[in-house]
């Protein structure tokens, strides 16, 4: 049983506020992901839960009990560090057994041996148990770090960007393996990453943090399909969402998005009507954009010129210049366009997003 609640947690280094007024509620056995750029305060939050970083103010509750004043060893948390933090002078076996040898746990030697071998089997480490960390590859070291945390079946399992130092191929494999291993953790998992695909793949729920604040908390599809503001929309998706600034104006009492000569009709909604005249920006995801050579009949298009086309294996990314904006669109690998060829950017009306320019707050999401 391990649900974690953070109430008004704040962390300051001198006058720099790394984490400001954080309120999070993580349910038992949940795979909770904190996603954000570097410097968003996500690792600091994790270290505050683990007790390595003291909380400047606010409370951290584990199953209702406050733990923010406990020292790390008094909290039933295990942590996988971004740099693995293996003990260089101990063998792999001793690294994994180390937590169980802690005096307060009083585990007998063969209990330790059983637990270590069990974990070694799950993570496929039985072949290099007696080697030193320095002689291991990145992937192997990462498994040892996982094993060291798994062996004690903690209430809370903290993971600080465990995959960020692996090469692309190994990262995908380990991500899938962690997802497959999820049941064997048997604890609440708090996973920190800057890679949106890890968040979407692994998270039951995702919290997106930016400069010490939580922008949105939700399930992967909530966060991807209905971002609460422009920042969240930009964070998720590679290549990221395209934006075009403009204003909302009335055209025979229908709200319309205008930018210079371009006019794009918007669905009738009281909220949009209230924002007539306001600066807004239109959001379009690359996979929702079609590049046509002929002018589409629907009003949902923009004129553009091909800037550069990049083939990426199963698909290609075409960068097109729309006025002085650069839009990215996904297209078929074998679709060839020539440089500066005039193209029409077309999309289906339900794929449009609209955000307020100043606060970035969402006005129109996909599908409504």
């Amino acid at each position: 049983m391990a649900d974690i609640v953070l109430e008004h947690v704040r962390k300051c280094y001198g006058d720099h506020e790394a984490v400001c007024d954080l309120n999070l509620e993580i349910r038992d056995q949940e795979f909770f992901v904190i996603l954000g750029e570097s410097g968003a305060g996500k690792t600091t939050t994790l270290k505050m839960i683990a007790g390595i970083e003291p909380v400047t103010s606010g409370a951290i509750l584990l199953n209702g009990q406050p733990i923010q004043n406990l020292t790390p060893e008094e909290r039933d948390c295990a942590m996988v560090f971004e740099t693995y933090a293996l003990y260089p002078h101990l063998s792999v076996y001793e690294n994994i057994a180390f937590p169980l040898r802690a005096p307060k746990r009083r585990t007998t030697d063969d209990q330790i041996d059983q637990a270590v071998l069990r974990v070694a089997r799950i993570l496929g480490m039985d072949t290099f148990l007696d080697r030193r960390p320095a002689t291991l590859s990145g992937g192997q070291r990462q498994r040892v770090a996982l094993g060291r945390a798994l062996v004690r079946q903690p209430a809370v399992f903290l993971m600080d960007e465990p995959l960020s130092h692996l090469d692309a191929r190994l990262r995908n494999e380990m991500r899938t393996e962690i997802k497959a291993m999820r049941e064997s953790f048997g604890s609440t998992i708090v996973y920190v990453t800057h890679d949106y695909s890890e968040a979407l793949a692994l998270g039951d729920r995702i919290a997106i943090m930016h400069r010490g604040r939580v922008e949105q908390v939700g399930t992967p599809s909530q966060v991807f399909r209905r971002p609460q503001n422009r920042l969240v929309a930009e964070t998720l998706g590679d290549p990221p969402m395209n934006f075009l600034s403009g204003t909302i104006s009335l055209d025979q009492d229908r709200s319309v998005f205008t930018n210079g000569s371009w006019r794009i009709p918007l669905p009738a909604s009281p909220r949009l009507r209230r924002c007539v005249g306001k600066e807004v920006c239109l959001g379009l995801r690359p996979q929702h954009i079609r590049l046509e050579r002929a002018r589409p009949d629907t009003p949902f298009w923009l004129p553009s010129k091909l800037f550069v086309q990049e083939l990426l294996g199963d698909h290609a990314v075409a960068s097109v210049a729309v006025g002085d904006y650069l839009f990215m669109a996904l297209c078929e690998a074998d679709q060839a366009y020539s440089l500066d060829e005039p193209l029409y950017l077309a999309w289906a009306p339900e794929h449009m997003y609209l955000f307020l320019e100043d606060t970035g707050e969402i006005l129109l999401a996909e599908g409504d």
Partner: protein, 300 residues
Amino acid sequence: MPDHALRTQRPNPPHRGLPYLLTLPALIALIGILYPFVLGVYYTFTNYTLTEPGNIRLVGLANYIEIFGNIVFWKAFGLTFVFAASVVTIELVLGLGVALLLKDAFPGVRILRSFLIIPMMIPPIVSALMWKVILLPTNQGVLNHILGLVGIRPIAWLGDSATALVSLILIDVWIYSPFAVLIFMAGLQSMPKEPYEAAQVDGASGWFIFRKLTLPLLTPSIVLVTLFRLIDSLKVFDIIYATTKGGPAGATTTLHIQSYFEAIRWFRMGRGMVYLFVLWFLCFVFSKALSGLWTKVLMR
């Protein structure tokens, strides 16, 4: 090292009194340093002489006034700086030169590197005695003998007030120039390789690279060598005591040696401590300034 602006690690959470408990033993030792220091400063304001320890009387600044007015003090002051300045300059130039010669690896460079540490590991007093033998004035000294082979008449070295200071500088350079070589070698090794390759590709000449790239990048090492060598040569003692003991005719009496004479030879502890306090103040000011400069240069 000096102040820790460059230590960017955030410390562990403070554990109530634990840090103080841990440093307590060292704190006691610290008092072991401060107490005599304060006692020494107190003596500078008294007429304390070792022969009559009974009557210590506060005499205010009398010692200072008398000493600052006395030509012997300024002679020693001047000598100290001449010695320090020449030692530091020679060791900087020689150290950098030899380090550059040892820069690119060639067979045997490791052995030469380990030979470098030998002079520094020998007690300075012993090195001075070694040189005393080598610098014997008549043809008996091996250096005079070798110079004689190339037609130079024997030099009195430590025996002649004209050449005594030069001989001491020679001894100091022998002992501590390897220190400068090692620091510069470490500095050269820690320099980034890529800018040199970029300069090669851009077609820069050797001298251009040295002036515009190597020297600026070596500034931290230069400041570090200056810091350690300047302070140590200001307070040099062993080398002079073993050879000339300040002679001949006071030609090599530095502040540190003069303080020894005042306090031990003529038992005038009060006056001896004034010399020491002045020398300490000089060393403190230079060490604070240079270590601050070192941190600043390192950050850039």
